[in-house]
Subunit: 316 residues, 2 copies
């Protein structure tokens, strides 16, 4: 793999940050890597782990001092603080990037603290596990996963290319889009599903308390998938929900309206409407799966679904 | 494994029916097994597959004629019809059981057609895959999965024991409860998650159409779990939603109210409320997982969660 950058700094060594450190060394993407973490306990653990030849330092300021490219891997709520810390210490012409799940808020939170001579090129790898911390990192975490790069208007093309090359070097498929479009897309494909998974537990717990009857133990496959989603880090998700408030509230309210329309169909016994809704879902899945060049559905089912695609559907 | 029954009939050889056929032969639970399916194509395939030493016959009437135990594995919407077909042909004192996802409706749908001399002991195995048809069956599908047996009040104890023994013989954990309690429990742990997964696709598709911007391809883990759930059979789920209307509408409306309260918290920027909601979800997951004697969360996280359990939470 070709070298992407001379001096790389990675701030934060949780699941994502430590996966980047591991991937960069495995694929020789940088000549020199400096890493740090806000937690002294994590920094101690980094010294024990000895990730590649990474140099572990005690502060963000120290880590970025000489870096050509800095990737901040911190919770979405504190990018402003980190920008304030590192702003005065960034090298002339350095590239700054991130891995946050919300892009517009990170751009506006950091803007006041970043000098004009640096290039902020935000990025968001769509990858993760339910685990966290420097031990959870995996060098192959980003392989064949999307990384969305969201350069603000007028960004330096070379800087965008460097960030793109780093993610491609780690095995990701890179898509470049505006920060606004990213936030709208993720609101529906990631933030809403998490919000729903968290909420469904609240409803289940309340039902157990109300009826004094345990139900959650009798959970089949679907509920277990929800539990996996709902076991994600609460602090991280609280910040995502609050930082992407506008797009999330927009899809959330549309979803609630769709649910209400669905409840009405059940109440009225409108089987045709329910069937059409569900058949559409199946087709969508096929499309998601096709993107990965996998087909799980037998041909016959596919054909039936194609036929159904052309049936009218009204959401009322 | 000890023999549970002399003559067993299994009506319907889709995923569940053909898994029972396979499991019964693998574990020698019956001396003689007769199977059938409403589809001539499936019956032809059954002859090709040669599941154990099962005798394939052409009608439900013929299949049940001499059976001690009959298990109907048909869509929840047609149990009344099947009862009408087999009622007059059931042997004196025979046991009838089923595998439907809704219990009270199946009991009331079949009641008019079942003679007094037979014992109807409904059951519901909480097991499945996203595939269907006689080729999809697995002999180990029910191992370590719950099977809920829901005898109507006053059921014959020996008949209940026989049905329980069959499921335990196939490796299931059996829980006996009332049909009403089953339907309430499954409404929240299975029916609602499916309804939500189907609905979220509708919302995502509508957003793509509205914004003319593909978003679904950028789906991370959470959305993929939803797609898996939403790829279940539309006809089967339409029937479940309509047959379990009361309990589903009840939890559905509570869930919508919880979602609205959650949307309000986001709108007001109430991070504490969001965090508490999500921490509770994590704890619930731990409880679900503990039931299976698996712990995925490190000790430290668990402790933090326990502490948070005692924080006040208001759903407003």
């Amino acid at each position: 793999m070709a070298l992407v950058v001379e001096k790389l700094a990675i701030l934060g060594q949780g699941l994502i940050g430590s996966s980047i450190t591991r991937a960069v060394f495995e694929r020789n993407l940088a000549k020199q890597v400096t890493i740090t973490d806000a937690s002294p306990k994590v920094r101690k653990r980094l010294l024990e782990l000895g990730l590649g030849a990474a140099k572990v330092v005690d502060s963000n300021e120290e880590a970025v001092a000489d870096a050509d490219l800095v990737i901040a891997c911190v919770p979405v709520g504190i990018y402003g603080l980190v920008a304030e810390q590192i702003g005065p210490h960034l090298k002339q012409g350095a590239i700054l990037s991130d891995v946050g799940s919300v892009k517009t808020s990170i751009i506006s939170d950091t803007a006041p603290f970043l000098p004009n001579h640096i290039h902020f090129i935000p990025a968001h790898p769509l990858a993760g596990t339910e685990f966290s911390g420097p031990d959870a990192g995996l060098p192959k975490l980003f392989v064949n996963r999307w990384c969305i790069v969201t350069p603000p208007e007028g960004s330096d093309k070379n800087a965008v290319s460097t960030v793109q090359a780093l993610w491609e070097g780690m095995g990701s498929k890179v898509e470049v889009m505006s920060p606004e479009r990213h936030d709208q897309a993720l609101a529906i494909t990631s933030h809403l599903p998490h919000l729903v998974a968290f909420s469904i537990f609240h409803t289940a717990l309340a039902q157990e308390e109300r009826t004094q009857s345990p139900v959650i133990q009798f959970s089949a496959g679907a509920f277990k998938d929800f539990t996996r989603i709902a076991s994600s880090n609460p602090i991280m998700w609280r910040d995502i929900f609050l930082k992407n408030k506008g797009p999330i509230l927009d899809v959330f309210r549309r979803f609630i309206a769709d649910m209400e329309s669905c409840a009405d169909a059940i109440e009225k016994g409108d089987g045709e409407k329910l069937e059409t809704l569900m058949t559409k879902s199946r087709l969508t899945r096929r499309r998601v799966i096709d993107k990965e060049h996998i087909s799980l559905l037998p041909d016959e089912q596919d054909q039936r679904l194609e036929e159904t695609l052309f049936r009218p559907y009204s959401s009322e």
